[in-house]
């Protein structure tokens, strides 16, 4: 429920509550919608996102599944093809690998392979990212891998507004949409207007305007990047921060408009560096804006290791503001 500290129609809420409100809203608006996944009902969701929804909507629509990621994701695909609008929740992206076959070989493929006779209007939500010391089987950022797959859309809500608004738009999409929720954002608070609702899912957003360098990021890294931009501002570097929001398709127009203006870019991505989403974006900049650039494109990515348990190593394995500041300064020749 949106916790009401209402002032003139503005509500303060957490990211977790915003996702829950989005699910509740979708369940109310469309009886074809149902939520299914491990521990979404009686347990209340492994990150407490769906807490309370079982009591409100019942066990048909808040459907606890056995530990069968491939099975229930596949069942979501079938239910979507059969006329329902399932929201499948996978606890974390690491476990989604057990369902990867269904996502890639079925969900992403069926429309094309069937000559447009069948589509899969399915939404799959999952948690992603490091920061909670959950070690090497619970902490990775594999959304960039999913962004490799034609046939699906990949979204990464970074703000409370997007957590609230992307789900409904995704449910209207005739094709599969994957939504990645960074685990470090669930407790984050933000404000929503009283009638907050669906948002566009096609465009990147400029979260901070600037003229000296474009910092391009998404999801949990957005906040680290904004922090870095603030630090850079103290040194008279005016960074523009782009929140990709959609990782597939990528909004090239917003990226290129920004780099055409700033002529420098650093991409921040929690995924592993080699073969990363950051690599894809960098290449697009090279393809589309090479002659506009004043410096090589930089990257701040996850180190190429499984995420370790101890806090100091975990922090060292992923992007942080200091690394982003350093990369930005390097691109500006200011180190």
């Amino acid at each position: 429920m949106l916790q009401a500290t209402r002032q003139s129609g503005i509500t303060e809420t957490t990211y977790r509550e915003a996702v829950r409100e989005a699910i509740r809203d979708a369940l109310k608006r469309d009886d074809r919608v149902f939520l299914m996944g491990e521990d979404v009902g009686r347990y209340g969701g492994c990150y407490a996102v769906s807490k309370g929804l079982l009591a409100e909507f019942g066990s048909e629509r808040i459907r606890d599944t056995p530990l069968s990621e491939s099975g229930f994701t596949g069942a979501g695909i079938g239910a979507a093809m059969g006329g329902m609008r399932p929201i499948v929740e996978v606890m974390t992206v690491n476990f989604s690998l057990l369902a990867l076959d269904q996502i890639l070989n079925s969900a992403a493929t069926i429309r094309h392979m069937s000559g447009n006779q069948f589509g899969v209007p399915l939404v799959i939500r999952m948690a992603t990212g490091a920061g909670r010391q959950l070690a090497a089987q619970h902490s990775h950022s594999l959304e960039g891998w999913y962004a490799h797959i034609p046939g699906i859309r990949v979204l990464a809500p970074a703000t409370v507004e997007d957590a609230r608004g992307m789900l409904w738009t995704a449910l209207q999409d005739p094709d599969p949409v994957l939504i990645f929720e960074n685990v470090m954002l669930y407790n984050m608070t933000g404000t929503l207007v009283a009638d907050a609702g669906p948002v566009d899912i096609a465009k990147a957003a400029v979260r901070r305007t600037g003229s000296d360098i474009s910092l391009i990021t998404y999801g949990g890294s957005l906040w680290k990047t904004l922090e870095a931009a603030t630090q850079l501002a103290a040194e008279n570097i005016n960074a523009e921060v782009i929140d990709l929001r959609s990782l597939r398709p990528l909004d090239d127009a917003t990226i290129m408009a920004s780099v055409n203006k700033t002529r420098r870019a650093v991409i921040v991505d929690e995924g592993w560096r080699s073969g990363s989403l950051a690599a894809e974006i960098g290449m697009r900049i090279v393809e589309q804006a090479f002659w506009e650039m004043d410096a090589p494109v930089g990257r701040v990515c996850g180190e190429e290791v499984p995420i370790p348990y101890p806090s100091h190593l975990e922090r060292a394995a992923i992007p942080n503001a200091a690394k982003i500041v350093a990369a930005a300064k390097a691109a500006l020749g200011r180190d």
Partner: protein
């Protein structure tokens, strides 16, 4: 050795040893829970409270060269297997002196000196590995057994079925031990399985299979003795379903909305430590001073383990990328 005969051993010394093994796990984990609230241990911490008879009853029968594959709820298995308590505690802290060099934490205890293959936090992920270890032993003409522990939640995963079939089909020496504690996080067995009699599923794959009261260490040990005897005779897999219960939350983040406090209380009364202790008392096989001595020895061992972990060191950040690949021998 004890592992190869299937006669139950009810000698006093042996029973006291089983009791000691269980109390050792319990007290170690009580300490871990305390250290978690002090934020010395972080991340996920899954306690084995209530299930100690399974690890203690099965693993103490294994031979040195046998292999163990466990889950993220594996502190008890590691301790019974002989992974040194100090190194387990240091691992819980994330210190370099830990049994996985501090990188794994509570869910990823590994120890090659005791053939302890982890600490797998992907539900069902250990079963195929156990099949492979047993395949290697078979192909190399070794007579070892691989004991593979997993919860009843894993039974819903495809890997469970694929692994049982492979082990049966190829005749591999795996002891599958299902720790059926009735809940997978908040999902009760009855809402996750159409057939809740799990040992019957193994039988479908033509694996000799039995269900045992997992709160009774004598029963667990007896069944494990039969199972190991059969595996060593035939080379074929064996399935044990140990019916047990977890007294505490799934992990430290669980509000336990899915079960009644009274249900937990009822099960607590059937606890494996309580049960063996009262049986020993009723049969005048234990003196109160002996129990005190056991407790005191374990408390001292735990205190030493905590001190060791506290004094341990953090792996330098420069080493973060070491061991992603094997390092060339110098």
């Amino acid at each position: 050795m004890s592992g190869t005969t299937d006669k139950p051993r009810l000698s006093r010394v042996h029973m006291l040893d089983l009791l000691r093994q269980m109390i050792r796990i319990r007290l170690f984990e009580d300490k871990c829970a305390e250290l978690y609230t002090q934020e010395k241990i972080r991340g996920f911490l899954h306690l084995y409270d209530g299930e100690e008879a399974v690890a203690a009853g099965v693993i103490s029968l294994l031979e040195k060269q046998d292999r163990v594959v466990a889950t993220y709820r594996e502190h008890g298995h590691a301790l019974v297997r002989g992974v040194v308590m100090k190194s387990v505690m240091a691992e819980m802290y994330g210190k370099r002196e830990g049994c996985s060099g501090g990188r794994g934490g509570s869910m990823h205890l590994f120890d090659n000196t005791t053939n302890f293959y982890g600490g797998n936090a992907i539900v069902g992920g250990g079963l195929p590995m156990a099949v492979g270890l047993a395949l290697a032993d078979r192909m190399r003409g070794e007579k070892h057994v691989t004991a593979c522990f997993f919860g009843e939640g894993a039974v819903a995963e495809g890997e469970f079925h694929e692994s049982l079939n492979l082990a049966a089909l190829w005749g591999l020496p795996v002891l599958f031990v299902c720790e059926n504690n009735l809940y997978a996080m908040g999902t009760a067995l009855a809402i996750s399985q159409s057939e809740t009699d799990i040992h019957a599923k193994a039988a479908c794959y033509k694996i000799t299979s039995e269900a045992v009261d997992g709160m009774d260490i004598v029963a667990v040990e007896g069944a494990a003795r039969r199972a190991l005897h059969a595996i060593r005779e035939t080379g074929k897999p064996y399935f044990l379903e140990c019916r047990t219960y977890r007294f505490r939350a799934h992990s430290m983040f669980d509000a336990q909305l899915y079960r009644d406090k009274t249900e937990v209380e009822v099960w607590r009364k059937k606890g494996p430590i309580e049960r063996l202790r009262t049986w020993l008392e009723a049969n005048h096989m234990i003196h109160p001073e002996e129990l005190e001595r056991i407790n005191a020895e374990i408390a001292a061992e735990i205190a030493e383990a905590v001190a060791f972990a506290e004094a341990g060191s953090w792996e330098p950040v420069e080493d973060l990328t070491r061991f992603v690949y094997a390092e060339a021998a110098s």
